[in-house]
Symmetry: C2
Subunit: 247 residues, 2 copies
DNA sequence: ATGCAATAGTTGTATATACAACTATTGCTA
DNA sequence: TAGCAATAGTTGTATATACAACTATTGCAT
């Protein structure tokens, strides 16, 4: 990304990225490289609008999000400035992690769920090729009563597979943020909390740990809680788990 | 704020607040009261648009900001849900502090500054009635060279008065965020960092600690660095500090 | 030097609109 | 039962526009 002085800045190959993201990256690169030092007055919304040939709201969003991440500081009537922070690396790390959480939080399935279950297993992540299929989940009918699971209608379970390094980084500092971003959601209230390892999931589904479940192919339910699940494993095999699932 | 079922929600007396802020408060009140439990599916952008009679972008902003604060979780295609967090009180605290920082960060003067000086003194805050006059600051011509202050042109100093409890809360966990939000800004790079108590400021300005400076009434400079400051104190008296300020 | 008015520039709030991308459900067909 | 298509609903991105609120500077009159 290069800037031809006083003319418009091309978006280049980043056509997949949102425009405001490109602008954010452009600004961060300027800060990271030291071109824009701390307390530097960054281009105004109107200037960015002209430079990148976008609407003001798009330019504004870039500045806004960087402000919320603590990288910029804005002041009505004055302008936007590079914030004060201790070390560049530390703050840019925060930005990256913040972006990642944001991304995951948005892309993750916020479905109606009953059980909050998080499976952490680095090997599983590699096995499932998490880059292409980042948030594998299992859906099931499950409910707990008096400590024992029972069936319910139109309820299913989400088991999120989480990269271990991310979990480690955040469980100490800001666990709720991370959990709220990646944790499955439920329309029911506060039923259960459970953390499941890969083994637990496989045991639940009665399949081998060597063939972790990949994807729920089809999910159906009747008024009586009868359900059928077809689950694909690595090579493409199907596993029927029967109509009645009682763990 | 009351909701007449299926009809529009009135904004009531909160005419001073921004609409999206009112919607945020409405949502937070629902969560805080337990009406909307964790994982509850909150009204969609379109529903809020109708209920509050605002544009979609306004409703969207409310949901967006609460999402960024970790209170809601959104998912494209599914909806917006109350996030998972350990205790309600803890998360709502975060929201309030986050709002406060945001507010201070925006309203604070992000001017071209030379010296970063933070004055922390609870008594001063009370004296100055910080509620009505939250970010008192002094402007001066000041620059350091070889450890000694000298004069410069078109440079002045901002001394932000910060409530002590806020500083204590944040200096341990996220100092840079707080500092970037409340710290004065400079167009120059990384000159000095100084933390001044009330006594220091008064000593600098050569006034009594019983009469802390309230407001810079007028500020001028010439090409030679000559400056004049008129400073108001509590009863409205004026203090001329002369043309040449050398500390 | 002082006080005031006027001006331009910047960010804040808000509306209206359009289309893209994704999800959950329904219905049809075999 | 299984596969597929269609549909409606929801959030994501983007533009264009308007006005409000605040800041810094300039200019004028005294």
């Amino acid at each position: 990304m290069s800037i031809t002085s006083k003319s418009k800045i091309e978006f280049g190959n980043n056509e997949k990225l949102a425009k405001y993201t490109v602008i954010k990256q452009y600004i961060c690169q300027k800060i990271e490289s030291g071109t824009w030092p701390q307390h530097y007055k960054v281009p105004s919304e109107n200037e960015l609008t002209q430079q990148f040939d976008v609407s003001r709201m798009t330019a504004r969003r870039a500045l806004q999000e960087l402000t919320e991440q603590g990288i910029l500081v804005r002041s009505q009537g004055s302008g936007t400035f590079v914030a004060t922070f201790k070390s560049q690396s530390s703050l840019l790390e925060i930005r990256n992690i913040s972006d990642e959480i944001q991304e995951r939080g948005h892309k993750h399935h916020a479905k109606q769920l009953m059980l909050k279950s998080i499976a952490v297993n680095e090997e599983v992540s590699i096995l499932l090729n998490l880059k292409n299929n980042e948030h594998v989940y299992l859906s099931q009918i499950l409910h707990f009563e008096n400590g024992f699971p029972i069936q319910l209608e139109q309820r299913y379970v989400n088991a999120a597979l989480v990269p271990e390094y991310l979990l480690q980084d955040f469980t100490e500092t800001t666990p709720h943020e991370y959990l709220s971003a990646v944790a499955p959601l439920t329309e029911a209230t506060h039923e259960i909390e459970a953390i499941l390892a890969q083994e637990d999931i496989c045991q639940l589904l009665n399949i081998s740990t060597a063939q972790p479940c990949l994807q729920v192919k089809r999910r159906t339910w009747s008024s009586k809680g009868v359900v059928s699940l077809a689950i694909l494993t690595a090579p493409g095999n199907k596993y029927r788990l029967g109509n009645h699932l009682v763990f």
